[in-house]
């Protein structure tokens, strides 16, 4: 992986092209490069400015207004949308759920993915079968994961309740997605099932670069599987572990698809997170202004975690 800083220096080649016989003169070359540089960059830049930069700036602006998405006037209300957020029980509930989601939804798939990767890596038979199997959940669209886990949780026919009933635990079985105490966690388990595939894929690939001589030395020294994995292998894949953790964590603040498909944030607001609450506020309550303030909260949380991730990675270098 390349670091942005070193690339900027590498790009200096084009900045000062070496003069050789047969070349256009340096000023002519510069003029040509400036012309084609601008020509090549402008189409992409226009699309990007119109459909990313401008709407982002507009989100900031709207978050200071009480616009309802329809009215011609957008009244400036200062910070009151942001103040409202801290007094809004539904927003606080969504935030609390989101924190649970980010913590459990990051730790679990990383640990599971790492465990799977280490198991497959330490010379299991049929490792190709397990490799394909373990990353498949990641390839599935979240809509499909949501639907199939709805079936697993189905109160009448779902496997969860069938197993519980079969084990004589009828008292425990319930409508997992309809019960406010379990809805968030039921969706979370489905999401962990999918995200583990991603963690497995990246970590398994990174294990191919582990220095085998250190592993063999530790075997001769009599280290057991866990000692070997934990103190010899894991430190060597620390950068990929950090990256997988960061990607999962940052994504956790924007989680939407799977919750929207499985519970819609319900029952009540039991499984509401910031993204689903923002969506509903903006497009079902038509509160574009307040919705934008909520969107800014998601943005700031993502940016903070991205920033922390970059710092951690710099320290690992």
């Amino acid at each position: 992986m390349k670091e942005a800083g070193t690339q900027t220096e590498g790009g200096g080649q084009a900045l000062a092209p070496r003069r050789k016989r047969g070349f256009a003169s340096v000023p002519a070359l510069r003029r040509q490069q400036a012309y084609y540089g601008a020509l090549f960059v402008v189409p992409g830049l226009i699309v990007y400015l119109i459909f990313m930069v401008y709407p982002f700036l507009d989100t900031i602006y709207l978050s200071f207004t009480n616009w309802n998405g329809v009215a011609t006037s957008k009244d400036w209300v200062g910070l009151s949308n942001y103040a409202r957020m801290f007094a809004d029980g539904a927003a606080l509930k969504a935030f609390a759920n989101n924190v649970v989601w980010v913590i459990l939804g990051t730790i679990s798939p990383v640990v599971i993915g790492l465990f799977e990767a280490l198991l497959v890596w330490s010379g299991a038979r049929a490792s190709l079968f397990f490799r394909v199997l373990f990353f498949l959940p990641f390839v599935l669209p979240l809509v499909v994961i949501g639907i199939v886990w709805q079936w697993i949780y189905n109160p009448l026919f779902g496997v969860v309740n069938k197993v519980l009933d079969g084990a004589g635990l009828e008292g425990v079985s319930r409508g997992w997605l309809a019960d406010p105490h379990t809805a968030l966690y039921a969706v979370l388990i489905a999401a962990i099932w999918g995200a583990s595939g991603f963690c497995f894929l990246i970590l398994h690939a990174s294990l191919q670069n582990v220095d085998m001589s250190t592993v063999e030395a530790s075997m001769i020294d009599g280290a057991n599987w866990f000692q070997r994995a934990w103190s010899i292998v894991v430190p060597q894949i620390a950068p990929q572990l950090t990256m997988v953790t960061a990607v999962t964590l940052i994504g956790g603040f924007s989680v939407f698809d799977i919750i929207y498909v499985m519970t819609g944030g319900g029952p009540g607001n039991a499984s509401e997170v910031l993204a689903t609450y923002t969506y509903k506020t903006a497009f079902e309550q038509n509160e574009a202004g307040y919705g934008s303030a909520l969107a800014m909260l998601i943005t700031v949380l993502s940016l903070i975690s991205a920033f922390v991730f970059v710092r951690v990675r710099e320290r690992q270098r």
């Binding site: 992409g44 119109i50 459909f51 903006a282």
Partner: protein, 278 residues
């Protein structure tokens, strides 16, 4: 010796445990997709109680998944072409052509890597409405190309720029000595070498566009324009009894991605690792 046998037995048990957890939901989709509708009413989720391939035809025609499939193919293809073309051009310019302000332009592009979709979601809706692109495939494609869906120009420019930076300058110099102008250097020398970089980007863009849900949900309402993700969601939340068609529709959506992924796994891992800022 004994402990080694016990150890490897424990590892296989652990593997089997995880394999079962991962496998069950996958089998459930396949099993339900090939179940006879009569069996579905009795017990929809008993594994492989019947084989009824007619479900795929019914899902394709009666369920409307054929239409959703072609919409998804069209949108994914247009997004791919647009993102690749614009990323190659901008990435090349930012890597190898000197023009004033290019570092700022690059910075502006890669900043987009860190912003979640929600940072642009609300104004994009009204912006698309005001310029008449709301509910059109073109509007959605432009949103994807810009990078609001995750993998668009920001990751494209980032990947292609680092790709072109690694190509030796001597290649360009040799062409310049032969009298090539800067456009010919790009078109004749650099572009034909772009395959590996473009492939990595293409895999990422395909994967994310095909599976995207919230963007088409918001910006492409209306039944005739649905893509597989939203069509599947609407179908499943509407007619909850026809599990076999939901499952068949899911497979219609999933199989192309799985096949694609099995072929291009390596490129995929490389792209995800390189784009770790996402």
């Amino acid at each position: 010796m004994m402990s080694r046998v016990v150890g490897s037995l424990a590892r296989y048990l652990a593997l089997a445990f995880f394999a079962a957890l991962v496998l069950y939901p996958l089998l459930l989709i396949v099993s339900t997709a090939v179940k006879d509708p009569l069996d579905v009413t009795a017990d929809p989720f008993a594994l492989f109680s019947s084989v009824h391939l007619q479900n795929f035809i019914d899902a394709w025609t009666l369920g409307g998944f054929g239409g959703y499939f072609w919409n998804t193919v069209l949108i994914t293809a247009l997004t791919l072409i647009g993102t690749l073309a614009l990323s190659v051009l901008a990435g090349y310019a930012l890597a190898r052509l000197y023009f004033p302000g290019r570092n700022i332009v690059f910075l502006v592009f890669i900043t987009g890597l860190m912003f979640p979709f929600f940072s642009v979601m609300i104004p994009l809706f009204y912006e698309l409405r005001d310029i008449g692109l709301l509910g059109t495939k073109v509007g959605l494609v432009l949103v994807f190309i810009a990078g609001a869906g995750g993998f668009g120009l920001p990751i494209g420019v980032f990947l292609m720029r680092s790709f072109y930076m690694d190509l030796p300058e001597e290649l360009a110099d040799a062409a310049r000595v032969d009298g090539a102008n800067e456009f010919q250097v790009f078109w004749r020398v650099m572009l034909p070498l772009s395959g590996p970089g473009v492939a990595v980007l293409a895999v990422l863009v395909f994967f994310q566009t095909w599976n995207a849900f919230i963007q088409p949900l918001l910006y492409l309402p209306g039944s005739e324009n649905q893509v597989l993700a939203t069509g599947l969601y609407l179908f499943a939340s509407g007619r909850t009894q026809e599990y076999e068609l939901i499952a068949a529709g899911s497979l219609i959506m999933v199989v192309p991605v799985v096949v694609f992924f099995l072929i291009f796994q390596r490129l995929f891992v490389r792209g995800l690792t390189a784009g770790a800022l996402k």
